[in-house]
Amino acid sequence: MKTSAFIKFILVTLITLILIAYFDLPIIVMIVTAFKQRADIFTPVPKWIFTPTIKNFVDIFVGTTTMAEGTLAIQNSLFFVTTSTVIAMFIGSLAAYGFSRFKFFGREDLIFFVLAQRFMPGIVIVLPMFVLYSSVGLRGTALGLILLYINSALPFVIWMMRSFFDEIPREIDEAARLDGHSWFTIFIKFVLPVARNGFLATFLFSFIFTWGEFLFALILTTPESWTMPIAIVNSRVSSEILWGQIAAYGVISIIPVFIIAIALQKYLVRGMTLGAVK
Amino acid sequence: MVKVVLENVGKVFKGSKKAKETVAVKGFTAEFPSNKVVGILGPSGCGKTTTLRAIAGLDPPSEGKIYFEDKDVTYLPPIERDAALLFQFAVVYDNMTVFDNLAFPLMVKNINKEEINKRVKETAEFLGLSDILKKRAKGLPASINQKIALGRAIIRKPKVLLLDEPLSSLDPESRLYLRRELKKVIRSMDTTVVYVTHDQSEAMTLCDKIAVMNEGKVHQYDTPENIYLNPATTFVAWFIGEPGMNLIDCSMEASEGKYYIKIDGVSDVSFEVSKWSHALKESDKIVLGIRPEFITITKTYKKNSIAGKCLVIESFGSFALLDILTNCSPNNIIKVKTPLSDDLPKVDGDVYLTFPPAYIRLFDKKSGELRVVMTE
């Protein structure tokens, strides 16, 4: 019995290490590169020991190089993503609550219709919007992108929040109604606080997805409204590839996401499958 | 045919950030004789299932030893114990047919097809499952599911059969039939049965001996009759019976060389206990226990009776359950169970309760242990 436990321990450790190495080593390489000086990057043999520097980060923000738009892109991303996620959360939760608590004709079809939106190829939506935005002058504006981001977050928010609301016993609402509260009060004061964790998880997942969005931003933004992903892609055009700064960009863009991921462990599966698997 | 011996078995669940460390079972020592049915009875969370799982080998105990006959099995995996376990909610493998369900324990042992066929047929016949062997085991009624699970347990002729509330999730009708089925199985097999339940009627009906547990401790391990008549602790007294014993605070007084028990708060009622005074002397406080069905109730005063007022009458056709308000402590309501007659008191009417001494049990208040069985 002792030996089999030992073998098991070795086996588990081995597999765990291999998996972590496989999935996290590339990220570690990126982080390491972000702290390397130019000379340490351009070596034929990967250098693991070097003097770290934060010059790459400084360059992005202070703008001593061609990547002067860095600060702006970060600002844009934060603004677009936060605004659209907050609004989508509000609108989406409200709709999810309606779906969860009321039975009405055609409800199931409507819910399915909402889900179908999630799987619509982005290119089908963005090309017509490109034409429309061009004609009404919304192309390159914050408003145009935020509206589209709200829309693309909505199906996810509605499905996630509905699955959380469905878990809250209906009797809570009924009791509050008998106590004499209005529907809106019940939603805000009685139901949302109970779904607090789910709300937070949905918010953060929604944030992550919008944060990494590329296609819409690529087609609909102008340099003034570039988001982080677009700024990163466009930095490649310059004559010399600034690996260090790109890596620093990458590190900055994954920081919020990593914090969120660690905070969200419990909801990981649910967020990734729209609540289909808990 | 093995006896199961538990030696000082204890189980502690390690604490984590959220949950504190909990002691589920402590110092469980008992011998479960072979070919007998032993019950482990207690309220939910008392440690009975933990004990059963330790015997099955699913979670080894954190201390103590478990023997099957003379073999120490404390840390053996379930496969090597030859014990079968039936869960509260019948487990059927619902992606398989009933036949495959029954065959599963044999199939995993690589027994040849003919032998499997033969034994599945036998078992199905025995339990009355022959007609549905080819059906998929999904969506069958709970009672059939439990039969299938029972079939899976007995098909490999285990030495020890462990039952974890197998009947409690069934409706009364199927419970009756499955209980008979169980008895049939138990009688036809050479097996030691451990039956875990929170339902005292199941335990009293099925078991040769019962271990009553609460909060991880065994309070009494005895025959059903003794548990009902002479509960070893106040917990057993309260827990067994529907409703359980009335427990009333008393004190002992000496007068003219004789010893008497007096009920606190009631001045004129006393019982002579000189015969047992030595057993009671160490206790500063005594609890008198008496079952509701043994109390005599009258509308007129009788000597040595407790006066009270009838608060509630719950009538059940052939008998009634009365809540009588008295001056007794700690709980001033005494429950009385009496046959229905035209002579029943009215609600709010005055009544008098007489305790026949032969049915009085005296407990130590502090430890809760039984001290005296008053027999005349």
């Binding site: 016993p169 009797e171 809570i172 009924e174 009791a175 509050a176 109604r177 008998l178 106590d179 004499g180 509260h181 009685f190 606080p193 109970v194 607090r196 | 309220p43 939910s44 009756l176 209980r179 008979r180 008895k183 005292q200 009627s201 009293m204 009906t205 059903p224 009759e225 009902y228 827990f239 019976g241 529907e242 409703p243 359980g244 079952r291 509701p292 069905e293 608060l311 509630v312 719950e314 009538s315 059940f316 056709g317 052939s318 008998f319 359950l321 809540d323 309501i333 169970k337 046959p339």
Partner: protein, 369 residues
């Protein structure tokens, strides 16, 4: 406090359940108990009266007000839910205070009222804890307090308030509840699936099945005169035993013939005279049967019957024993108010009295006597 009148209420709840023409009255200051097996329609009625579900047709009056189409908060009713529906994010105080806050009472008033009810229900010590940390019994009391704190209510609806409790605690809560009801003296509508609870608590009992009212009356009356086989089986400590048979006339005698036994029931001539030569169902209450182990000599009196059978199974319940006696493949339940053990398969005699038998029409199921 007001009288509740439900008039011809009809409501379809999906394929499994439709409330059909429900009419009843809950008198002022009484407990009216709705009793039905699970999914029999009692929760639907509670919700309709509370205003959580709408009627398809029919009217609901409370006192002299027609409340059929009012919002729940306009009805002056209070309800306790089977699942308790405590607000998990609020502490006990906030839970109980919720109905008062909706009335926009001044804070000092809210505090006074909440503390008063908490004292009465013995939960003062839990006021600042979250419901999740309370025991089952305490949670029950909090829910009850929240329902009772609304003292402007005309009607208190309690939907299976004890169902989720442990059997041991349920029995003691039952008595406590009865005492409480006497004290507050309000109109109450109480739903339960448990006939024992219903018999113990009801001033008026309404028996429902599959969305229809089967019988209403006092508990004693319904117990003694069940209108049909369903009520006889359902309302009682144990289900009644039903035996198929027919009534025939042999010369002067009237005989009840079943495939288990034949008994003479000439004395019941008056009540059964319309049913001679027709099929009937005999009902025997388990608590009115006895098991005799020794063979009886001759029939001691004409009204006492002995039927031979064998013990199929028995079951000890508290201080009672349920004996299952098998006669010609039919199993008859007998409740004995003592603990007795039986050997399976031994011969016994079932003893019962002529005056204790029920007869139902086999087809319609209605009580003959």
């Amino acid at each position: 406090m007001a009288k509740l009148v439900v008039e011809n209420v009809t409501k379809k709840y999906g394929p499994a359940l439709t409330l059909e023409k429900i009419s009843f009255t809950a008198e002022e200051g009484q407990i009216t108990v709705l009793l039905s097996p699970p999914n029999g329609g009692k929760t639907g009625i509670c919700k309709i009266v509370a205003g959580l579900d709408e009627v398809d047709s029919g009217k609901v009056y409370l006192g002299d007000r027609d409340i059929t189409d009012l919002e729940p908060k306009e009805r002056r009713v209070s309800m306790m839910f089977q699942k308790l529906a405590l607000y998990p994010n609020m502490n006990v105080f906030e839970n109980i205070a919720s109905p008062l806050k909706a009335l926009h009472l001044p804070p000092s008033e809210v505090i006074n009222q909440v503390e008063a009810i908490a004292n009465k229900m013995k939960i003062s010590h839990t006021l600042y804890r979250k419901p999740g940390t309370l025991s089952g019994g305490e949670r029950q009391r909090v829910a009850l307090s929240r329902a009772l704190v609304k003292n402007n209510a005309d009607l208190y609806i309690l939907d299976e308030p004890l169902t989720n409790l442990d059997a041991k605690i349920r029995a003691s809560m039952r008595a406590e509840f009865k005492i409480l009801q006497k004290e507050i003296n309000q109109t109450m509508l109480y739903a339960t699936p448990d006939p024992i609870e219903a018999l113990a608590l009801a001033d008026k009992l309404i028996v429902l099945d599959k969305g229809k009212i089967i019988q209403q009356g006092t508990p004693e009356y319904i117990y003694r005169n069940p209108i049909n086989k369903f009520v006889a089986t359902f309302v009682g400590y144990y289900p009644i035993n039903l035996i198929e048979g027919s009534i025939i006339e042999k010369g002067e005698k009237i005989i009840l013939q079943t495939n288990l036994f034949e008994i003479e029931i000439s004395k019941l001539r008056d009540s059964v005279k319309d049913h001679i030569n027709s099929k009937v169902t005999l009902g025997l209450r388990p608590e009115l049967l006895n098991v005799v182990k020794k063979e009886p000599k001759v029939q001691e009196s004409l009204d006492l019957f002995y039927i031979k059978g064998e013990v199929f199974e028995f079951e000890i319940r508290g201080s009672d024993t349920v004996v299952y006696v098998k006669i010609n493949d039919q199993i008859i339940r007998v409740l004995e108010s003592k603990i007795t053990k039986y050997d399976i398969g031994i011969k016994v005699w079932l003893q019962f009295n002529l005056k204790d038998i029920y007869l139902f029409d086999a087809e319609s199921g209605l009580l003959i006597r």
